[in-house]
């Protein structure tokens, strides 16, 4: 084995590392002021902090100094990274909990085999355990030749929250105790075939809204959202696996995946389609390759029994009972990036209109000199086919996400931005899925529980906005704090701006529970300050 090691060694004693950290912090603070006064790029390098004599030179390595343009490019993220360390220390002190710190060197100390958590059982496991050890039964060979071993697994999660929100004059303040239960039963037939049934018995969808079981403190009313409706019911399988005799030698690629029934559907990370219950049939082909495309997945979708339509302007998303949708969703892995190309056409009732929309996105990591930057860029557009309505409008949405992880941590810093030109309209959007811009930040998204809406709701109606967030991990990742700053500005008419900040704390308890606290303060031009807070207990089983 040949091991080359760097000439400009960076391997330092621990005491020196701490000194460097302090120096680096002060240097960054100074750097921000310098940056404010002058645009001259200043890059932080370790060699500037300590003289070469301070290092133990262990290796020989060709120099690879970043060029000026790269220093300039990374100056922004470097500046945005500086609050991460003091904020992390602050939260660490408040929570009295250690932050995740990644060790550089491998341990030479054998640990011995450590205990691991036992498998938490599902609510119900009939026949085969879900990922449980034990003797596996023989299967049943169905007439097509496929071998199935039917099992039933029941699982889900329950959320209960107490929440308060006073957002703007148009909406009554929210003060409620609210609940949601997602209950699923899977009849597992084989590794590729299954029937999934899902219910949300504590919240009921009616028209363009949902009612969550709980208590409204503001009006003093009990709210009943009990319902026996199936939220999800679909069969999913692989054609080639169901009919193995059609290809006994495995030389014909008949492995078409398909699903039929009521199912959730997502495209472009929820920007184009974000439905929690849509009646559809899908056919998928995956693991295709060629011409530099390493892994292509294509899905054709046909939805036939009405979908929830998105409104980029006034009214909330609403159910269009007469609508149908056809869509093609693709995802391709290339050597450096993943590309999603999706398109959907919706035939709607006259009141809703017909709509064609598409989205293209590229997701990749950029390797800088100081860090690795995760990025995804989405370009979406919608075109009405016929007259425009509240649910069918023309517009474009440019959406970009960037994030990176500072050294010596698993923390996350993210910067997201969007620009909605005219009125971009999603093809399908669940009643409580809000605006496509929820992906921008926690402040822009609802929580799908009760009436606690997005703190700063931005609609894709001539608007530009961004968010900056810091996520900190404690106790491994069992305890997390997310602090976010976000805002948007309308680009037409009154050009009003909105800005807000929010904080989220969440902690996993035992093997089943998550405790969550949320709070925000926001201000929209011309409106009074809005604020909200909530606590939630989530139970997984």
């Amino acid at each position: 084995m040949t091991t080359f090691k760097p000439r400009n060694s960076c391997i330092k004693p621990v005491s020196q590392r701490r000194a460097i950290e302090h120096l680096r912090l002060w240097f960054r603070i100074s750097f921000v002021f310098v940056l404010a006064l002058s645009t001259a790029p200043v890059a932080l390098s370790q060699e500037e902090l300590l003289s070469p004599d301070d290092f133990e030179i262990v290796v020989d390595f060709p120099s690879d100094e970043p060029p000026l343009w790269n220093k300039l490019l990374e100056a922004g993220p470097t500046a945005l990274s500086w609050p991460n360390e003091p904020l992390g220390h602050f939260f660490s002190g408040v929570l009295d909990s250690d932050r995740y710190q990644s060790e550089t060197e491998l341990s030479e100390q054998p640990l011995g085999l450590q205990e691991i958590p036992s498998r938490p059982p599902l609510i119900l496991e009939w026949n085969e355990l879900f990922l449980g050890p034990g003797f596996l039964e023989q299967g049943i060979e169905i007439p097509t030749g496929a071998v199935w071993r039917p099992s039933l697994w029941v699982f889900g999660q329950f959320r209960t929250g107490v929440q308060y929100m006073d957002r703007d004059r148009a909406i009554d303040p929210v003060a409620e105790w609210t609940n949601r239960l997602d209950l699923f039963g899977q009849v597992n037939l084989s590794g590729t075939e299954r029937i999934l049934v899902g219910m949300r018995p504590l919240d009921e969808e009616h028209g363009g809204d949902r009612t969550f079981t709980g208590y409204d403190f503001h009006n003093g009313d009990w709210i009943d959202g009990w319902n026996p409706d199936f939220q999800t019911l679909f069969f999913e399988g692989d054609f080639g696996e169901i009919f193995p005799h059609l290809d006994p030698y495995d030389v014909r690629a008949l492995d078409y995946g398909f699903s039929v029934g009521r199912m959730p559907l997502l495209a472009q990370q929820g920007l184009l389609i974000n439905e929690d219950a849509i009646d559809a049939v899908t056919v998928t082909r995956n693991t295709l390759s060629g011409h530099g495309n390493i892994n292509l997945r294509m899905t054709g979708v046909y939805s036939w029994r009405g979908i929830n339509r998105n409104s980029p302007v006034g009214p909330p998303n609403d159910f269009d009972p007469g609508s149908e949708m056809i869509a093609i969703l693709t995802e391709s892995d290339f050597a450096k990036r993943t590309v999603n190309l999706d398109a959907a056409y919706v035939y709607g009732d006259d009141a809703f209109g017909d709509l064609f929309a598409f989205g293209a996105s590229a997701i990749r990591r950029h390797h800088g000199y100081h860090n690795v930057y995760n990025s995804s860029v989405h370009v979406l557009a919608s075109f009405p086919d016929g007259p425009r309505t509240d649910y069918t409008d023309q517009g474009e949405l440019l959406f970009a996400q960037t994030s990176w992880t500072p050294h010596h941590s698993e923390d996350l810093i993210y910067v997201n931005a969007f620009w909605a030109i005219d009125q971009f309209t999603s093809s399908a959007r669940g009643t409580r899925m809000g605006s496509p811009l929820g992906q921008t930040g926690l402040l822009f998204a609802g929580i799908s529980l009760g009436n606690y809406a997005a703190p700063i709701p931005a609609k894709t109606d001539d608007v530009v906005g961004a968010s900056l967030g810091y996520q900190f991990f404690f106790e491994g990742a069992k305890q997390q704090v997310i602090w976010e700053l976000g805002g948007f500005n309308e680009t037409k008419d009154e050009r009003r701006g909105t800005i807000g900040t929010g904080l989220r704390y969440q902690k996993a308890l035992d093997q089943h529970w998550i405790f969550l606290l949320d709070g925000f303060v926001a201000k929209q031009e011309g409106e009074r300050t809005s604020q909200g807070a909530r606590s939630e207990l989530l139970i997984k089983f």
Binding site: L136, Q138, L265, T282, N293, V372, K507
Partner: protein, 697 residues
């Protein structure tokens, strides 16, 4: 059921076992010893009964094969070396009621010599026969070392194979444990079900020293894992049902009963018996029937484990799916076995035609013979006494797992104390070792050390054979073009090299490609032998300087910005800010309590759960990739010409994986450092190219 009650139940069962054996001990003097050595069916049954809610079928399946019907009277009498084993055959012969019939079957395993044996008391002979019956019949999943007796060639190939290593691998075990821990226990046996189907069927814990596992469980993908499958499970992610049964139970093979029928119809020639229950029948036990199982000859039998779709929709591996869309399948109508079980690893060059078994000292009819080494990119990093599997090396530590085939020199734990790197057992070491040299109790006997060294020499030879096969299959998988000088002047040097997929059956790397290390190591020196450029070098941990390197991540080394790597990446979704690469696909940014549960949306449509996916970055079938390099002016010393060397290197897993999973500990008392060093030592140069760049004056 609580742990206390479970423990109490198990204790009770053991008391019953011991009490029963004491009864039998009054009848035969050797029974008590046998009690401790027989397979603990009752314990298995007790465990199964604890889980009757889901395992009734399992119990009935075991009962159907007559292996959980309570305590049996058994005796041990299992000899521990070949000489004794030969003698056993004679004992079985002479203990029969008909001395005339004994003659033809008094052949001896291996050497064919005939031994005479003094007559034994009838009661002892009966007891010994019963013990043999138990050894053969009782175990629902016979160990490969039982198959080895008649199939030495298959066993030798398999013993050094990745299949045989699958459960022994400390990296696998740590990764499985770490993923279970990071999924808060919900991942269950998802990983380990493929790596030790027998262990999971026997309800062994997911985390336990391999030394304490049932022999067939420790053997990972052992003989019965493929040859005791009677249904075509398709893409089942390893959750196919094994057919339980002793050695006499049918096995499932590609050809069927033709050869076996010949063996059974010539008892005089082969000296076999298909049942251990009939005292009148004598001979060497053999499976009663070979049931033809067509699916075993197709790629789907490989795909049942090598297309790994998690219940939450995560496509971890899709080698089988890749194959089904490849020209190899669609145009050439080949299958996995053609390239991976043929004469030459990595190419469809046909199969050997030779006997599949040697029964006694008689070879069976020649037929198509597949190679069971099925080599791949993995290699052993554990003590050579433990792997390759070798019945002459390892003795079962647990008496319950010892049988008449027990010929091992030392237990696994004893082997771990044998310092082969210091030269123990070599003539040189033994002659020069100081008197003060101390040895662990198991190795104080010099003769034993010499014997261990002899065994290790065989082990090293087999490991080298496996390495050669690995090199061959990996070399066939990748093609490296010539170095192409694109531009050279005083402003720098630009050059490129092409890497192509050498197979037409799947992408490269494939399978567990998100943790496969395949990269180009590029070095450029000036005429004074000063290194002016390097890419693909390793950090002090042994990692490439990509963003997963701890040194790079912590800002202690610069990233290798021109690194050419074919490793795919696990991508996890962030709470916001898109996605990021992670060494293991645990989306904790999205969820502080990561759970594995069935997907609640169609995984065919999404291709992955919402929180994690894999970004494939290898080379697709028929594809190629250009690696382009740029040496900047500031890096040139102007002492041209420059010499460039490019190597295509393949490793098993990245060291950063070893680092991140080390918190759950490694088996065999290994530290993360030891594991990493061994993994890096196994890096293999597949192709190499060199060129001289003349610098214009």
């Amino acid at each position: 059921m609580t742990n206390t009650s479970r423990f109490a139940g198990i204790s009770c069962m053991w008391c019953i076992v011991i009490a029963s054996l004491n009864v039998h001990a009054q009848q035969t003097p050797k029974v008590q010893q046998a009690a401790a050595q027989r397979f603990p069916y009752d314990l298995l049954e007790a465990k199964l009964n604890e889980r009757t809610r889901v395992c009734d079928a399992a119990v009935s399946e075991l009962k159907r094969h007559g292996i959980s019907s309570g305590v049996r009277s058994t005796s041990s009498g299992c000899p521990t070396d070949p000489q004794q084993r030969s003698a056993t055959a004679v004992v079985r012969t002479v203990s029969s009621e008909s001395p005339v019939e004994s003659k033809p079957v008094s052949m001896h395993i291996g050497d064919g010599e005939q031994h005479s044996s003094p007559p034994r008391p009838a009661s002892v002979s009966v007891a010994i026969n019963e013990s043999h019956a138990a050894c053969f019949e009782g175990d629902p999943f016979p160990s490969a070392k039982r198959c080895q007796i008649c199939h030495p060639g298959h066993y030798r190939e398999w013993s050094a194979s990745p299949h045989a290593y699958s459960q022994l691998s400390p990296v696998f075990n740590a990764m499985s444990s770490a993923l279970i821990a990071l999924n808060n226990g919900t991942l269950g046996d998802f990983c380990i079900r493929c790596h030790t189907p027998v262990g999971m069927a026997l309800l062994e814990p997911k985390v336990m020293p391999n030394a304490d596992r049932h022999p067939a469980a420790r053997e990972g993908v052992t003989c019965v894992v493929c040859h005791r499958i009677n249904q075509n499970w398709g893409k089942g992610a390893g959750r196919q049902a094994l057919v339980a049964g002793g050695l006499n139970s049918p096995i499932y093979g590609p050809v069927g009963n033709q050869v076996l029928a010949d063996v059974l119809s010539n008892p005089d020639r082969y000296g076999v018996m298909t049942s251990s229950g009939d005292p009148d029948e004598r001979g060497r036990e053999v499976h009663g029937e070979v049931v033809p199982f067509f699916a075993l000859t197709t790629s789907s039998s490989c795909g049942s484990c090598h297309d790994v779709l998690a219940p939450n929709g995560f496509r971890l591996e899709d080698a089988f799916s890749e194959f089904k869309t490849s020209p190899s399948a669609r145009k050439k109508h080949q299958n996995c076995q053609d390239c991976h079980m043929g004469i030459s690893p990595g190419e469809a060059s046909g199969y050997a035609f030779e006997p599949a078994a040697k029964v006694g000292n008689a070879w069976t009819q020649s037929r198509k013979r597949t190679n069971h080494m099925m080599i791949g990119p993995d290699y052993s990093i554990i003590h050579p006494g433990l792997f390759p599997h070798n019945p002459a090396a390892v003795r079962e530590e647990n008496p319950a797992y010892q049988d008449e085939f027990e010929t091992g020199l030392a237990t696994m734990r004893e082997w771990l104390q044998f310092d082969h790197e210091a030269g123990w057992g070599t003539e040189r070491f033994e002659q020069t070792a100081p008197d003060a040299q101390t040895f662990p109790p198991a190795w104080q006997d010099q003769a034993r050390r010499f014997r261990a060294r002899d065994i290790l020499d065989d082990q090293f030879e087999l490991l080298q054979e496996a390495d050669r096969a690995r090199h061959q299959v990996l070399t066939a998988g990748y093609q490296l073009g010539e170095i192409i000088l694109d531009k050279i002047d005083r402003h720098g040097i630009r050059f490129s090299i092409n890497v192509a997929n050498g197979t037409d059956g799947h992408g490269v790397p494939t399978g567990f490609d998100a943790e496969r290390v395949v990269f180009l190591r590029v070095s450029v020196w000036d005429r004074n032998s000063q290194l002016v450029f390097v890419s693909g070098d390793l950090d002090p941990n042994g990692d490439l300087r990509d963003n997963h390197s701890a040194y790079v991540h912590n800002g202690e080394l610069p990233p290798d910005r021109q690194l050419f790597s074919l490793q795919s990446r696990f991508i996890t979704r962030n709470v916001r800010g898109g996605e990021r690469e992670q060494i293991v696909p645990i989306p904790y940014s999205l969820d502080p309590l990561v759970y594995t549960r069935p997907a609640t949306r169609p995984f065919t449509v999404q291709g992955s759960p919402l929180g994690a996916r894999k970004h494939k970055q290898g080379i697709e079938v028929g594809g190629h990739r250009w690696a382009r390099y740029h040496i900047r002016r500031s890096q040139l010393t102007c002492d041209g010409p420059y010499c460039c060397q490019v190597q295509l290197v393949a490793g098993m897993v990245p060291v950063n994986l070893i680092h991140i999973i080390s918190s759950v500990g490694y088996d065999y008392g290994m530290s993360a450092r030891e594991v990493a060093d061994a993994v890096v030592a196994g890096h293999m140069v597949l192709h190499s190219r060199s060129a001289v760049f003349p610098l214009d004056e």
